[in-house]
């Protein structure tokens, strides 16, 4: 095979990936209303609630701890520089801006991606291998509506909630640092936080977290549905799901940040 053919082949594979992702996204989007309580099919929203518990609630300790740690790291790193200018208070601003815009959504997405993208692809991959997906189709039930859509809804609701909580954890880590290093009181700290926090930044972070949530659940489902053959294929799919979703999250982070920057929405003051 010539080099040109290899490049073409690789491009076709990537394009097929993108195409499959888009197709699946549409089919799920059309089915989402069926999952909602009252307007949707009866009982279906309950499975969405179950998914919220597994995707969202159980990721809480992990996301919280990761944010607490990275908040502390950020405080330590920025303090060593800011101290030279005698502006240790600015640590508050650094942490608030970094967490609302960037770290909160990213740390949450990475922790959920590690836990749930693999879990989703393993669950759906197993359903493919044990013919449960076929069974649904044969029974006249749409697997998209039945297994995929509740996961999407759950991720879209819980990941932004987790993002808010982990942003709070990160900012709280900043307080811990400042309380120890310069005896700052909680009152003063949160006053400074309120000064530095902008609604625009919070909204920006939440938009990002919605994008990340979509990526996680989307890649997890697609990799799961692609499983062919025996149980060992499920293992491959979980690895692929985590690797791809992590990579796509970083890529999407860059994309959204660049858009916000270019539109001039991210300048402070």
């Amino acid at each position: 095979m010539t080099f040109l053919e290899q490049v073409g082949q690789a491009a076709i594979v990537q394009l097929e990936d993108a195409g499959a992702l888009t197709m699946q996204f549409w089919s799920v989007l059309l089915k989402l209303p069926r999952i909602l309580p009252i307007v949707g099919a009866r009982r279906r929203w309950r499975s969405a609630v179950e998914q919220m518990l597994t995707i969202g609630a159980s990721a809480l300790p992990m996301a919280g701890a990761m944010s607490l740690c990275s908040g502390f790291i950020l405080a330590l790193q920025s303090a060593s520089e800011l101290r030279r200018f005698g502006a240790l208070e600015l640590v508050v601003e650094v942490i608030v801006i970094a967490f609302t815009r960037e770290m909160g959504p990213l740390v949450t997405a990475l922790s959920v991606s590690g836990r749930s993208a693999s879990a989703i692809s393993a669950e759906i991959g197993t359903m493919v291998v044990t013919e449960e997906i076929d069974a649904l189709r044969v029974m006249g039930l749409d697997p998209v509506e039945f297994t995929l859509a509740p996961k999407y809804l759950a991720a879209l609701i819980t990941v932004p909630c987790l993002t808010i909580l982990s942003t709070f954890c990160g900012i709280f880590a900043g307080y811990l640092f400042l309380a120890f290093s310069m005896d700052m009181s909680l009152r003063i700290y949160f006053h400074a936080v309120a000064q530095a926090m902008l609604l625009r930044d919070v909204a920006f972070g939440l938009v990002k977290s919605l994008v990340f949530a979509t990526i996680i659940v989307h890649v997890g489902c697609l990799e799961g549905l692609r499983v062919r053959g025996g149980p060992e294929a499920v293992g491959h799919s979980t690895t692929a799901a985590v690797v791809k979703s992590t990579f796509l999250i970083i890529l999407a982070d860059l994309g959204t940040t660049a858009i916000f920057y270019l539109m001039g929405w991210s300048s402070t003051g």
């Binding site: 099919a41 009982r43 179950e50 044990t130 013919e131 449960e132 076929d134 069974a135 189709r137 044969v138 029974m139 006249g140 039930l141």
Partner: protein, 274 residues
């Protein structure tokens, strides 16, 4: 034996005409013609890789053939719309190889699922139907268990109960006795015969287990390398002269690789001598 639908016996419920399929240049199904008549048990025999699973997927409308047609109750499922396909599927119950039960639901909920999703029956009625179906397969006291807690045979029977939930005309069973011990396998055969006797369903069984095949079948069909090499009443089938069928029935190993190897060595030696 008289079945409720014996009067109508003879007309084809499933009729497969000239179905061909290939994956990556390899012919998996080659112009398969097969009729499954009302009220009979047809057993589709075949070794691994003979194409029987692929044929089954086509009959269920999970895959579309390259050529040919499959009519179920007169509706060609290879060309019909999605809604027609759904209507046809409502009349078919399928028990998959491993049961394909949903692990997150109890056995009862698994059997109730098609009733809850596809009918407007009241909860009390659904409960009764579920109980009757579990009773029929001998799992009446296992309803609250979850699939991972069941043995292989129980899982298959639960799969049959779910397949029977909507009272189908056609029941399709994929490898009902694979991986089961002889006693459990015999119980499943009993169950299949019982379902045919008492509900008059048409049953298509895909298997490679000879003993159970000849025990339950009215007619036996055999697939080999994607081709249907024989369809016959089971009495005639047992005396069939086709070498592949003889080999299959007499459980003879495949001699071909050894012959090929000997020929290769012989020609190699001839070549090195000259």
């Amino acid at each position: 034996m008289t079945t409720p639908s014996a009067a109508k016996a003879g007309d084809a419920v499933i009729s497969i005409r000239g179905v061909s399929m290939s994956y990556g240049g390899r012919r998996v199904l080659d112009r398969v013609d097969l009729d499954v008549c009302r009220g009979e048990i047809l057993v589709l025999l075949g070794g691994s890789g003979s194409g029987k699973t692929t044929l089954l997927k086509h009959v269920l409308g999970l895959a579309k053939p390259e050529a040919g047609s499959i009519a179920i109750n007169g509706v060609d499922i290879t060309r019909c719309s999605q809604s027609e396909l759904s209507a046809v599927r409502r009349r078919i119950g399928v028990a998959f190889q491993g049961g394909a039960l949903f692990n997150s639901m109890s056995v009862e909920d698994n059997v109730a699922l098609p009733l809850r999703e596809l009918t407007r029956l009241a909860d009390s009625t659904i409960k009764l139907v579920v109980w009757m179906n579990l009773m029929a397969v001998g799992l009446a006291d296992a309803g609250s268990l979850y699939p991972p807690e069941l043995s292989g045979g129980m899982r298959k029977r639960a799969g049959v109960a779910r397949a029977m939930a909507l009272d189908p005309e056609i029941l399709i069973l994929d490898e009902p006795s694979a991986g089961l011990d002889p006693i459990v396998s015999a119980e499943l055969d009993q169950l299949i015969l019982f379902l045919k006797r008492s509900f008059g369903v048409t049953i298509l069984v895909v298997t490679h287990e000879l003993e159970s095949a000849f025990h339950i079948a009215d007619r036996v069909a055999m697939l080999y390398q994607g081709r249907l090499i024989a369809v016959d009443k089971k009495e005639q089938f047992a005396g069939h002269a086709h070498p592949r069928i003889r080999q299959f029935l007499d459980r003879q190993p495949d001699a071909m690789p050894r012959v090929a190897a000997e020929e290769f060595i012989a020609s190699y030696l001839r070549g090195s001598n000259t």
